[in-house]
Symmetry: D2
């Protein structure tokens, strides 16, 4: 079996999750190439070396620019903050590397477009880490929809709400700055549910009307000065949606939704049934079908099991449960298979660009008070 070498940039929440998945993936799945944890970049040499030991990478560097051009790196894996995605990805593409990056792809659609064009011109493979679509239950939801089990789709309701910035005493950080994060909740967690809406339904969002709100307008500066800094993007947002297949729907997103920890949830309604999912119970899917005798119909709780997508690789026994990091393991599997086979990856930069365009459209709609095409 051939190797596929990874250069990881960034070792926060996402960087560690990628590292765990790279280590575990070959044991969980039978892969066409073995992922190798080759090189790790962090903010300086010392920290990088420390993190490389911790996460099991062979080499390390304090300079991400040397990573993206390193001849022994096949795939550049970007887990740095959003505002760095563009520069890093463009450099990696210029060096002919495949690029695997966290979401959102870019701070705005124009940046995303530049990245798409560069990647396509270079002929490298790209993948963006919308990992929740890899979850077994969500893959199953898509299968159920695609197979027509729900009939014709008539409504999509989605949300991705969390409360990680609900506390107004939390200091201002990069999440709340336009220049480092782009959109706020809408870009950070909202991007997941916007991508999910198209992934699940197989339809394209054509038009939106949206609304954004900054609930906590200022936050303490992180410098401990006692001063306040302005929050420059949305704490919560919502939109109505028109899809190209006639479907209508809505989405909500928030980073100040008190009580919601991993509040990605959706309800997809069709003419013959519907499904309900909540990522806080990620190994369950609720399914209703208009069939069977009167008085015996109801939402069924499907517990994920080996007959569902990608579950069997983790356990042959049903109901045993997948976790957050397992989604990343599946994502790594898809990435490696795509690179080795040359088949299209989903969602690649082009697909993720759509998400940036939806975000921009919701922002434009908010400013204009009317429906705006994506």
């Amino acid at each position: 079996m051939t190797d596929l070498t990874f250069g990881l940039i960034g070792t926060g929440f996402m960087g560690k999750a990628h590292a765990i998945a790279l280590k575990a993936a070959p044991t969980v799945f039978s892969l066409p190439a073995l992922p190798v944890c080759e090189l790790l970049a962090e903010v300086d040499d010392e920290y990088a070396a420390c993190k490389a030991r911790e996460l099991g990478f062979d080499r390390s560097t304090g300079d991400w620019k040397s990573l993206v051009t390193d001849p022994h790196v096949d795939v550049v894996d970007i887990c740095a903050p959003n505002f760095l995605h563009k520069e890093m990805a463009l450099a990696a593409i210029a060096a002919g590397k495949h690029v695997y990056t966290e979401k959102p792809l870019a701070l705005c659609a124009a940046d995303a477009q530049m990245m798409v064009e560069a990647a396509e011109a270079a002929g490298v493979k790209t993948l963006v880490g919308f990992n929740y679509i890899r979850n077994s239950a969500t893959q199953l939801a898509r299968e159920i929809i695609a197979s027509g089990e729900l009939g014709e789709l008539i409504h999509f309701r989605g949300r991705h709400n969390e409360d990680y910035l609900a506390d107004p005493a939390k200091p201002l950080d990069w999440h709340s700055r336009r220049g480092t994060a782009g959109a706020g909740a809408l870009g950070d967690v909202g991007s997941h549910i916007l991508n999910m809406a198209e992934y699940l339904t197989g339809q394209r969002i054509q038009e939106v009307v949206g609304q954004l709100q900054t609930v906590i307008p200022t936050r303490p500066l992180a410098d401990g000065s006692g001063g306040l800094g302005e929050v420059e993007n949305d704490d919560q947002a919502q939109a109505l949606l028109r899809f190209d297949g006639g479907l209508i729907g809505n989405v909500e997103t928030s980073r100040v939704a008190t009580g919601r920890k991993m509040g990605l949830a959706y309800t997809v309604t069709g003419t013959k049934g519907s499904i309900v999912f909540d990522q806080e119970r990620m190994s369950e899917l609720q399914l209703y079908k208009c069939e069977g005798p009167e008085g015996r119909q109801g939402f069924r709780t499907l517990l994920m099991g080996p007959e569902h997508p990608d579950y069997a690789a983790f356990s042959p026994a049903p109901g045993h449960g997948l976790g957050y990091n397992d989604q990343k393991i599946i994502e790594i599997r898809d990435l490696i298979e795509g690179i080795v086979s040359g088949r299209p990856l989903y969602p690649d930069f082009r697909e993720a660009w759509r998400v940036n365009r939806m975000i921009d459209a919701i922002e434009a709609s908010h400013a204009q008070g009317r429906w705006v095409p994506v």
Copy 2:
């Protein structure tokens, strides 16, 4: 104790629910006046007599016009289809009767306004049957919000989805005709969640942007001819909301939401906590509060009990559960207390008129593709 005599028009779903509540209310609650089931009107004398025996009314008539002017009737209770509300209510008001009517008040805001003006000019009491706001859990939700336990409100999400017209083989009836029902799902079940939004939050909806859809454009004619008739109003609708206190939110409503039987549900998020409610589990309220030690916070399932609004009258023991008809018993109690005391009733015609205006605004917004004030 004095008596308060009721004249009931209509004995379908709602008429029977009113009759049950009129009979049970004096035993459940200590009332300032005893409701008397005096007179019942139905489509003809014979059916009226039969129904009067069944539902325990003293007298009956096949002519509702004689009921509204009957000297022994204090309160005219209108459970006839929506399109008859206006004529019946105006006649009852003209005869100086108090009027208790089912929702929605009228087919459009203009009709509702005429009814408000007539009632206020005549000085009679009015009440509209938005019964879900009487449920103990929903009264509790309002108390929690009003007391500031959730901090400042930042988001309202509401829906009232059912699937009573999900089956396309169901023949066309008055629900789907503009002239008999006005709006479709939006008027029928949507009116509940629109009223609920203001009841719960204590804020007024100022502006909406909405979308309506007729999912099943034609239905079999009820005459058995095999022909098809046009569905003239919405099967589903949704809107974004701006409240006058700064709150934002959204609502959804449907009569074709496969799997939903009594899908009135809401989530109200504040800066210090949030509540989640689903009428399909009507005796539970989920409450999250940002308090207590780290690692011990979570949504609590409050089971209704005697310490919650109006529960103790039904049972001294917690968790024993209220049912749909119990909400109507509470509504009757409120009606009688309001009439006897002269204190304002909620929601009266003026309040229900607001709901008609919201419905009209959502329809206008749909036509115009932009935000519309209520």
Copy 3:
């Protein structure tokens, strides 16, 4: 329509619930006789008169003995504390009255037997208020089991846990005295789940091995003296069960189960499916059936609707929910139909005697440390 006159003894929790049901039943159901609230007995004349006004009874008395012999009373309805059931029922039977009494029937099986024999000798009708078996979801559970949908039954798990005596500061009252209550949790709430076990499964409990425990051995005396009195019966109990059809199972009961308000719950497992029910969500039944495609099986949440037992009389719309008192309305309907038709009533005194024998057997088993036949 003929009348059936009721004489009610006792107006606490249960007395009021009976009164509400007597008033509402004729409107909910089409009955073969009209229940009349004829006479009410309480501890003295004044209180009785007050309660009669409140609950809508025509006459009142401070002497229950005059009630049971009153010539205008057809049915004696006993809602007095457990220790009075025997004397009152025997007096009522001696006067030729039908007897409707709350559970448990008696303080011990010997007393119950005496009551059975008296009632059967006199030829009067009897009914004991195990009202939870009237709930639509539980009637449905029984139908599903009886129809063979679950295959052959292989396991029954039941519990009825509450926490009404969990607070050790709660003063000693009749519940905790052997002479007034008989068994403790086992008699009070445990009696429900023991009856339920046989009702649901259609099998007889043949043998038990059980265990009782008094968790809070002393409680403050109610006289405010600051003294402590001994708790003379069980706070919690549990047993394994052998049924005559080969089924095995277990039951638990408690009055000190912190957090449980109406914790009657059961799981019935068969070879082809299983059902799960919790009275805290009394209008839902979870149903699993071993059928349909792989990957689409799961517990279904059936929301009660008009196609389920007795629901339609309360509402024609599914999912609207029954409440605690609605169970009593169904019980009253069954009582009246049984008396008028002469058909057997379930559970009558003979059936309730079984429950007393089960309780006695569990107590004996606890003392002897071995299986004991019922």
Copy 4:
């Protein structure tokens, strides 16, 4: 950092789970020694070589006996069927290896005792894979109990029910043979809940009264002959429990519980609160505490997060969910830390021997119809 080399015997469900965990553990946790996948044994050389490639082991063998004496193996990791545990463990102990084995430890308490004595005489470390006790929510449950938050414990209810043998057409395999499995459901999944009962409560089970049942007495022979073979052990079992601290409780276990996939669940009730857990929702714990204002008490759903045991190593964000294999990663961490530090491991062979004694006691009690000491 030093290495700790593993020799894995068996590559079925459990063998693969161990391999995944060995690979991922060093990235998830900061470990005192690096686990090395040194040697893998399977039924023959070829299959072993194939599985070693698949699971990432350096070497392989078709002879487990050579593995247990291999000089480069520090820890023998036994994932072979139950009946082989004893022989393999004794050989590994004789070779001075630490032993990590799946549960149940042995087919009967006598065998387990022999293994305990050998291990203790040899001074090797042992660990038995009762992995569900590593789950964050269950560790949290134990912390809550140990801290006294629930007050004094008064009741334990546990079950581990699955339906993997519910289908009577499933051929006879080693699970159903006394000589290869020992007890049936009781040994296989029941062992988990028996260990869990003591782990959670910190009390020892002193006495049991139990009942076993073989629901499906014969199954098709696996040889395809069409013949039937006898099921030699229990399909389901249940017992009442007496703990040494005064606590009472009960357990249930089944392999034929239709609909239950991963039905390990428990309710622990104390005088000041209670907890409810279901492994099918493994990242949630329900907590009730008798505190706070009247009307605001209810079971809280705690979603696991970084403030809970071992969660932060997997994700810094709450509610993101652990999966089945994550429990094994924690188990591996505990094993390595115990071996390197020399501190006691839980549950070691001595502790697992207790589980075998409980199983034997329940079987003896079933035969004798009375309470039996453990």
